[in-house]
């Protein structure tokens, strides 16, 4: 079991900055995120978009903001459980919590800070009536183990980078790769589109456009898909796997069942004090929370994270008095043994 002081659910900007503020208070953090990499929306949706309202950065790319935050918190050695979704929370008799992910990874923490943004990012599922019956039985929305597809027939659906990249990658592994897209044009990187064209010409990718998968065939597992190509009759393609890659959509997910007070898809918190939820010891910070006058801005998340950490410290150490120090005065002591501090002034008499 993973143990930590503060378990942060969500590794977006607010979650990452929480590690820094907690680190100043000598509190250890671990983060869980459903995405395979830190950064939340900034990494997943708009890494190349500039942000203009981060203090002291007239302009910064969302991806670079994530990179900088990771650099800033490195010294506090946070742990990460990535690619897993926080599923259940169990309060222990001593007031601590055990949070378990959808893959069964258990985390024991004194404090839980939900920094889940708009929620966990779930794959967008195509509108095929029986698709849920085949999930993990040949239908996969995320490719985790490419070896699973070795010498198998694969149908990929979608027109973005993921669909293109995986079609290219699997063309070397699978026995047959079919890429199906609703349009003739693809929105991915130009070199990926050209590579797919090249592989199509070589007969290594079967490209079907403009077309859509409208049905899935099989009993215990996928055996084929029904494809409708514009202007033609529907036809069947035999396949072992159907991989729809239509991006991700945020959902509040299992957190919504944790007994937290929810209002308009967000978690209600005590903003007058410390951003604690109705469950003592569980906080919600950043875009996932709501209170009168709430603004969903990254810089507000940073502020909320800072106040929340002070409250968490008092909850963990009720008898200790913490005196807030500026980092310009107290420096920063990393958990990795590093120390950052302002250079001392040299006082020297002149003869």
């Amino acid at each position: 079991m993973i143990t930590t002081d503060i378990l942060i659910i969500g590794a977006g900007p607010t979650g990452l900055f929480t590690v820094f503020e907690a680190g100043l208070l000598k509190l250890k953090c671990h983060l869980i995120d459903a995405l395979p990499q830190p950064g939340g929306q900034c990494s997943e949706i708009y890494p190349k978009k500039p942000i203009y309202d981060i203090p002291a950065y007239p302009e910064i790319l969302a991806g670079d903001l994530t990179k900088n935050l990771m650099e800033q918190i490195k010294q506090f050695e946070p742990g990460f459980t990535l690619g897993e979704r926080a599923e259940t929370i169990d309060k222990q008799e001593d007031g601590t919590f055990i949070v378990t992910t959808n893959k069964g990874t258990e985390h024991h923490a004194k404090i839980v800070a939900i920094a889940g943004g708009l929620g966990s990012f779930e794959p967008r599922k195509p509108l095929i009536e029986n698709i849920i019956n085949f999930e993990d039985k040949g239908v996969e929305y995320i490719i985790k183990e490419p070896e699973l597809y070795r010498d198998k027939k694969v149908v990929i659906s979608g027109g973005g980078d993921s669909a293109l990249d995986w079609a290219i990658f699997l063309s070397d592994i699978a026995s047959e790769v079919t890429l199906i897209h609703r349009r003739n044009e693809f929105r991915g990187a130009l070199d990926s589109v050209e590579k797919v064209q090249e592989l199509k010409n070589l007969g290594k990718i079967n490209l079907i456009t403009p077309a859509e998968v409208k049905g899935i065939l099989g009993t215990d597992k996928v055996t084929g898909v029904v494809v409708e190509k514009k202007g033609e009759d529907g036809f069947i393609i035999d396949t072992d796997h159907f991989i729809p890659l239509f991006g991700l959509s945020p959902k509040l997910g299992p957190i919504g069942n944790w007994g937290l007070e929810i209002e308009k898809n967000a978690i209600k918190v005590n903003n007058a004090l410390d951003y604690q939820t109705n469950i003592p010891g569980v906080y919600a910070i950043g875009d996932v929370n709501t209170y009168p006058g709430k603004l969903k801005l990254i810089l507000c998340g940073f502020h909320e994270a800072t106040l929340m950490c002070q409250s968490a410290f008092q909850r963990i150490f009720p008898d200790k008095k913490y005196v807030m120090k500026y980092t310009t005065v107290g420096g920063v002591d990393g958990f990795d043994g590093t120390r950052k501090e302002a250079p001392k002034a040299v006082v020297k008499a002149i003869q």
């Binding site: 929306q41 027109g159 897209h181 609703r182 349009r183 044009e185 929105r187 959509s249 945020p250 509040l252």
Partner: protein, 110 residues
């Protein structure tokens, strides 16, 4: 001259709302829908208005001449669900005097 325009927006429950929207606040249709709370918070404008999520997809019901689609909007609609010939992304439709009387219907949540 009035700085407001009148819009007819049909929500996801099929209810049509007559909305007055300002043209001098640099708003787009998705932001108007949010400000009038015509769709549940967290279900519209997820990407913040960057044509990257299609949560604000709507069907244009009137004959207004709208600005041409950008490549980003066109590409997003290529991957979205419930797309019809009259689909647009609300976040890409600016509130200008030219859209006075526009009638739209929000596409289902997906």
């Amino acid at each position: 001259m009035s700085l407001d325009v009148n819009l007819k927006i049909t929500d996801r429950n099929g209810v049509t709302h007559d909305i007055v929207a300002p043209t001098d606040m640099a708003m787009n249709l998705m932001e108007v829908v949010r400000s009038y709370e015509l769709a549940e918070e967290g279900t519209i404008g997820i990407c913040g208005g960057m044509a990257m999520c299609a949560s604000c997809q709507c069907y244009v019901k009137s004959n207004h001449e709208l600005p041409e689609m950008s490549d980003d909007e066109d590409a997003m609609l290529a991957e979205a669900f419930y797309v019809e010939d009259n689909s647009r992304l609300g976040c890409q439709i600016q509130i200008t005097p030219e859209i006075n009387g526009l009638e739209v219907e929000l596409a289902p949540e997906s």
